[in-house]
Each structure stands twice: as structure tokens, then as C-alpha cells.
Amino acid sequence: MAEEEKKAAGETKSVKGAWDVKYRWTFRQDLMDRYVAGLKEKKLWGTKCHRCGRVYVPPKDICGKCFEEIDENWVEVKDRAELVTYTVGYTSITGQPYPEPQITGTVRFEGSDSWALGPIRGLKPEDIKVGMKLKVVWREETKGQLSDIEHYAPAE
């Protein structure tokens, strides 16, 4: 039966429902504690693989490339970064239009081999360039939370 016919005949009907399941994800608190303790002091700490030497910021406890545990091998990286790639968002993740376009990007801190994701502010969308130097803009009073990194901005 054609779609219109089915609709006209009232053959199908839809009911609404939601999947409201709450989760409690478990993660390595020792890693996160050390990382956010660094953020409170406006410092960035990552972990370095014993085998390949890759530095992960935020820290990881397993290097998937080497299949090795990274055990307490902390290194500090600079809060200056290079922009690896970016996008200018015109809609929120659920599709609602933003009042102003929002820039997000992936940044590589000096001394790190992985990148962090986050918002970039303080410049117009047309002025952003891959490879540009960025700095971390810290929250005025850091609290030892992920949101201590407010955003990234051009390093002047």
C-alpha cells in the first residue's frame, strides 16, 4: 500500500517514548585527580608511554598503539598550543541554531603528541587558520575542574 493510502486508512499509529537511563561511568580517578590538580595550578600534565614515548594530554593509562600500561610516567606540557583543525558551528549538537557561530577546534599543546578538543574564542571565524598559535585561557579562579580551561585564544 502506498504511504498516503496507509496514512488515510489509519493503518499505522506512532507512540512516543524516551530512553532515560542514567549512567555512572567509572574512570581512573588517580589520573583525573592528578590532571585536574594540575589545572588548579594552571599547569597541564600528561602521561608518556614507556615504550613509544608518546605523550597523551589529557592523560591515558593505556597506550593502545603499544598495548602497554602507562604507569605514573607524568610529564608537564606547555599551555601554548597549535591549532590542528577547527569548525565553525552554526547549530547546537541537537540542531538548534546558535545565536552566534561557535568555533571549536583540536589543539596540540607544545610537548604533547595527542590533541585536546575545545572552544576557541577571541577571533572572528574568517580569521582562524590551521596551524595558528593558541594559548589556554584559564578561568580566573581555577577550581581543579575540567572547566578550568575556559577556552583557547590566539597567542598574539
Binding site: G17, T85, I93, Q102, S114, W115
Partner: protein, 382 residues
């Protein structure tokens, strides 16, 4: 290498468009019935069934519990994958190659009209760092990849509209595609609603409803079926790290490695010359160009130049996505199996208005994960 050769011996697909008034079970039942009829088999000849869907898309956990019956899997060996229909085809082929079964049914489906796709897809993101601030989704993650690729290749954003324009023009010849009545003017596509630059509404997959079914058989059974067997000459699967931050987004390393395995198994040494048509799961326009390069389908090294020269067009030397591809219709998780069935139809000469002439070897690709983390490539031939 498979112990026994495996072929596609039958297929069917529903419209890959909005089927709001259909039940999921009805859509699956109709498509599976059509595939059995097309293959000339009855339900009792099916040994094993591999389905593809996703609990988040279906709104049920272990959602195949509900689809076993319309998928002809009642009281049979049945399982489900949550990646892509191409993964379901791979696992079904392995079940046949093992010698345990002779005939398998591969069933992929989803109804995008029934759920908020971007909300469900955001559940694939890491909950600790990437999800909690609400900055990222499936589209913005791919936008990072698109920007990195365009920048590396020094390409303008307009090239993405040209990919979509080619695919929408092809879709006009495909009665199953949602984009069959879209305008194929690149200028209009380049002005469509910006989502996450450089991606726009018309350079991102349109979420649709749809079901696709393939009937597979292993030799010697495959040679005794009603239809001519279209052999899986080669198939490869590879994946890389979840974190975008640990990948080179300018390349598609896992797609390249998957293709390398498929080509080795198929004895393909010059893919750009030997493959006559390719159906790729370009969820986003830039991915078609990246895949063409990673899969070795270009003359030279620039997919954009091949596109501009018309080499990937319906009348080109190596048409890519004559069906219109994923930009023209995208039932999530069904896309890769649609590509495989399209490739088989091309080899059989049954692709209808978008048939490419003289296809001996056809390639199909499926993917899943943020910014195409995980890829399957298969080569089909007589």
C-alpha cells in the same frame, strides 16, 4: 583468505527515504520476502541470519529480539552487529566460509524518522572529555576531518558541493534514493544551511528510513542457485583509534589498510584501472574524496582533480556512487549493505538507469565510528 568462496545470490532493498507510515517490522518483512523471492529460495533454506541495527536507533536493548520474526530468523542461528551493514555482510560471509552453513541472510535496517539521530549518535562520544560540555556531535567531529583534509590539499570548500552535485545528479536515476528529486546545482548546494563549517546541510548525510537485504551462499551451493553468483573476491576490515586527536585526519589510514587486504585477497594490483565502479559510504562529501585517495581509485594523487575531470561521474572511467551514495540516502547502519547490493547489481547489469557499462569488478565500502574510524572494503565480481 576464505576456505570456501562466498557470493551474493539475491537481494532486495526498500526505498531509502522517509517511510514514516510503515512499521519497522513491516518494512523488514516486506524487504526480506522480496529478497527470498528474488533469490528463488524459501525460509527453510536459510542457515544463519546476521542483522545490523543499533539499540539507540531502535529504542530497545538487544533490539533484534523484536526483529527476529520479520527477518525470517525465527528458530534459527541469528545475531546482530551494531556497526554497519557491511560488517554484517563480512560476518555472514565468515559464517559461510567456515563451512557451518551454506546460505545466509544479511538484514540491515533503521528508521531515522523515529528518533533524534544526532542525539543518539552523540552517545558514541567519550563521556569524560568529549561529551560533557555538549560541544561535539557526529557532524562536528567529521567537520574537523573535512577542514584538516581541505587545508592539507589546499582545496576550496566548494569542492564539497561538487561531490554532492555529482551524487544528487546520479540519484535522479535511482528511484530508491531520497535525493531523487533534489536539485543537483552545485551553487545551491554550496549555499545550503551551514551546520559545522565546511559542512552544510547538503554535504552531510540525510537521515532516512530504510531496509536492505542480501542473500549470501557459499560454493558449491552458490553455483546451484537461481541467480548468477556475484562473488566476494576480496574483503578487508580495519580500524584506528577512537580519539580524533590520535589520528592523522588528512588521511584515512584504516580505509587504506582495509582496501589493501581486500585487494590482496582479490588479486587486484592496479585498483584505479581494474575497479570499474565504486560505491562508497561517504557520510560527508569530503569523505568521498578522502576514500577515493585512500582506496587508490585516482589517476594521480588528487581525488578533487579526478572529480573535476569527470572521471568519477556516471559516464566517467571510474564512476563513484552511481546510486547517489550516502549523501542521497542514509538509513544509518544500512548504508554499507546498500553499497554492497548496488555493487552486485552493477556486476549483474541490474542497476537500472544508473547502470555502468561493462562492470567486471565493483567495489563497495562501509564505515562506522566518528570521522570514519572503522572501515570495511569489499570487491565483487563474476
Amino acid at each position: 583468505m576464505f576456505e570456501r568462496k562466498v557470493a551474493i545470490v539475491g537481494y532486495a532493498m526498500s526505498d531509502q527515504a522517509d517511510r514514516i507510515e510503515d512499521t519497522r517490522e513491516g518494512m523488514i518483512f516486506d524487504t526480506v520476502r522480496a529478497a527470498l523471492l528474488q533469490a528463488g529460495i524459501t525460509r527453510d533454506q536459510i542457515g544463519t541470519v546476521v542483522m545490523c541495527s543499533n539499540d539507540f536507533y531502535d529504542g530497545h536493548t538487544i533490539s533484534n529480539a523484536f526483529t527476529v520474526e520479520p527477518a525470517a530468523a525465527y528458530a534459527k542461528d541469528e545475531t546482530k552487529v551494531e556497526q554497519d551493514g557491511m560488517h554484517a555482510l563480512l560476518y555472514a560471509a565468515m559464517r559461510l566460509a567456515s563451512g557451518n552453513y551454506d546460505v545466509a541472510l544479511v538484514v540491515a535496517h533503521s528508521k531515522g524518522s523515529e528518533f533524534e539521530a544526532q542525539v543518539a549518535l552523540s552517545a558514541q562520544l567519550d563521556p569524560t572529555y568529549d561529551r560533557q560540555f555538549g560541544w561535539f556531535n557526529d557532524i562536528s567531529m567529521a567537520a574537523f576531518q573535512a577542514r584538516a583534509f581541505l587545508d592539507k590539499k589546499k582545496l576550496p570548500e566548494e569542492v564539497l558541493a561538487q561531490v554532492a552535485a555529482k551524487n544528487f545528479a546520479n540519484a535522479r536515476k535511482n528511484p530508491k534514493a531520497k535525493a531523487r528529486d533534489y536539485s543537483a546545482a552545485a551553487e545551491a548546494i554550496a549555499r545550503s544551511k551551514p551546520l559545522f563549517t565546511p559542512l552544510r546541510e547538503q554535504t552531510v548525510y540525510p537521515v532516512t528510513d530504510g531496509c536492505c537485504v542480501a542473500v549470501l551462499a557459499a560454493e558449491p551451493k552458490a553455483r546451484k542457485m537461481k541467480n548468477k553468483p556475484i562473488w566476494i573476491k576480496g574483503i578487508g576490515h580495519w580500524q584506528e583509534a577512537y580519539a580524533l586527536s590520535e589520528r592523522d585526519l588528512t588521511k584515512m589510514e584504516s580505509a587504506k589498510k582495509a582496501a589493501k587486504r581486500a585487494y590482496k585477497m582479490a588479486g587486484v594490483t592496479q585498483p584505479a584501472a581494474e575497479i570499474k565502479v565504486a560505491e562508497l559510504s561517504e557520510h560527508f562529501a569530503h569523505q568521498e574524496l578522502q576514500l577515493a585517495e585512500a582506496l587508490g581509485l585516482c589517476e594521480g594523487t588528487s581525488a578533487a582533480k579526478n572529480l573535476e575531470a569527470g572521471r568519477f561521474g556516471l559516464k566517467g572511467k571510474l564512476p563513484i556512487n552511481p546510486s547517489g551514495g550516502a549523501l542521497s540516502a542514509c538509513a544509518l547502519g544500512t548504508v554499507g549493505l546498500v553499497r554492497a547490493v548496488e555493487a552486485a547489481q552493477q556486476v549483474l547489469g541490474e542497476a537500472g538507469e544508473h547502470q555502468v557499462k561493462g562492470v567486471k569488478l565493483a567495489l563497495a565500502h562501509g564505515q562506522c565510528g566518528p570521522a570514519a574510524q572503522n572501515n570495511v572494503v569489499a570487491v565483487f565480481g563474476k
